[in-house]
Amino acid sequence: MGFEQFVFYVFAGLLLFAGAMVITVRNPVHAAMFLVMTFFTSAGLWLMLEAEFLAITLVLVYVGAVMVLFLFVVMMLDINLVPLREGFMRYLPVGILVALAMIIMMGLVVGPEFGAHPVPERHGPDYNNTAELGSILYTVYVYPFELAAVILVVAIIAAISLTLRRRPLVKHQDPDAQIAIRKQDRLRIVKMDSEKK
């Protein structure tokens, strides 16, 4: 077993462990942290596949942003997980059935060709995964890529239009109005005769 295989098994083992912990620990914050760990270990595996861009993006997007917001929500909601788990034994047979079906289907797809593929060749040290990905994304897949961007725009518009509303009863400051204030609006200098005794 070479060094590389050793690293692979370490990452893979940690990944499976963390994945199992995500669905078994009782504390939702712990579960979220184990999910972070699964992201890290899978990023490690991707690095070994020479997909460093994807690996780092996985950490950047999922660990750096998505999971932070997720944690935010989990902490704020303070979910009690016990009622959520009550039906576990009842759903177990169905779950096993689905898992078996998926394994069989994967076997059908991969089975006949398993081992038929040669081991892919290693790229040299000057191979740049990011540049390769960029050049294919902006040429061959430019149309789907732009469409994905449009979908994100729609998602933003939808999210904002559904959440942004003016509630008349809430007091809030309007910085524009604060800055735009003039002396005449607030201050009135009155000429008065001094009082005479």
Partner: protein, 350 residues
């Protein structure tokens, strides 16, 4: 050094491992020392700004103060609140400190002087700095107390928001440098003061630094701590070295942001006198790392200067600045920059 270890007749993998270990130590030891003295510098600078003299008594002219502080922190008791989540409470300072150190792996100090020449170095740094927020959030939650929790919530929203502006600023750097590799980005800035990216990317440069202030939770964006409102935010329940790790992480992140700003916008180790007759030759003997350290020190001073000058932002103002001012500016500038690069506008992009 490397030849010496390879000559010892150790197995290949082990020798490489030892060499890397030595390099790591060579980066981290000066860094930790710099951390300690940055705290000292901060106190001194702030004090001079406020017309005071600052620490004077430990060692000659107070020079041993940070050492005394470090010893004090190491020997103080770590108090764990009874309602706290013990595991996460102890884990979170480590999560804050770890990424702040790990990011240094890809920082080039000179054209040849770096630990790992990674293709996607910039993304790596961004990913690690974004990870630092976990320390703060978990600390706030694990303390099981009001003020830390408020601080953690503030910090989570703040860091995620400013990361966007920061990321967009970095996209500009990547476009201008045509690479994700920090070394290549610096090399793309060759040709003197006016070729450095601060000029063509001026708004991005400013925004990057502002977002850096927010990402490190430094004043005027230190709402996560906010001593006057929420007592010290996520740090309330921490003591001893567990507090010390947060403290060190904050300063390590400051240095990191300063180094990155110097590398990406101020030409890193390149001499400012490049292309100027006489001056260039007179200063040719100065090693690149000195220029880098000088630039970094300048930005560190700026960090302290800002702290001494500006009052803290209010929370809604902070969000407004991030989302409604900084992000739109970066996007507009990215479009202009794209035009300039495609149109090969000189002298930077021809």
């Amino acid at each position: 050094m490397a030849e010496f270890i390879q000559g010892l007749g150790l197995p290949e993998a082990l020798a490489t491992f030892i060499i890397i270990l030595i390099k790591i130590v060579a980066i981290l030891m000066p860094l930790l020392l710099a951390l300690a003295y940055l705290t000292f510098a901060e106190r001194k600078v702030l004090n001079y700004f406020q017309a005071r003299v600052g620490p004077l008594h430990v060692g000659p002219r107070g020079w041993l103060t940070p050492i005394a502080d470090a010893i004090k922190m190491l020997f103080k008791e770590i108090i764990i609140p009874s309602g706290a989540n013990r595991f996460l409470f102890l884990l979170s300072p480590v999560l804050a400190f770890g990424p702040a150190m790990a990011a240094w792996a890809v920082i080039p100090f000179d054209a040849e002087l770096l630990l790992a020449d990674v293709n996607a170095a910039l993304l790596y740094v961004l990913a690690l700095t974004s990870f630092a927020v976990y320390g703060i959030i978990l600390a706030g939650w694990a303390s099981n107390s009001k003020y830390p929790f408020l601080g953690a919530m503030r910090s989570a929203a703040q860091v995620v928001s400013y990361e966007l502006a920061m990321g967009f600023a970095l996209v500009g750097v990547i476009m201008a440098g045509q690479s994700l590799n920090l070394r290549e980005i610096v090399l793309a800035q060759q040709g003197g003061l006016w070729m450095w990216f601060w000029l063509p990317l001026l708004p991005l440069f400013v925004i990057y630094f502002i977002s850096g202030l927010a990402e490190t939770n430094r004043p005027p964006f230190d709402l996560a701590e906010g001593e006057s409102e929420i007592v010290a935010g996520y740090q309330v329940e921490y003591s001893g070295i567990s507090f010390g790790l947060f403290f060190m992480a904050e300063y390590a992140n400051m240095i990191l942001i300063s180094v990155l700003t110097s590398l990406m916008f101020l030409g890193g180790w390149l001499s400012p006198f490049e292309g100027i007759p006489y001056l260039e030759e007179w200063f040719a003997w100065v090693p690149g790392i000195v220029w880098l350290l000088l630039k970094t020190s300048f930005f560190l001073l700026l960090f302290l200067w800002v702290r001494a000058t500006f009052p803290r932002y209010r929370y809604d103002q902070l969000m407004r600045l991030g989302w409604k001012v900084l992000i739109p500016i970066t996007i507009v500038w990215l479009i202009l920059l794209g035009g300039a690069i495609v149109g090969e506008v000189g002298p930077w992009f021809d």
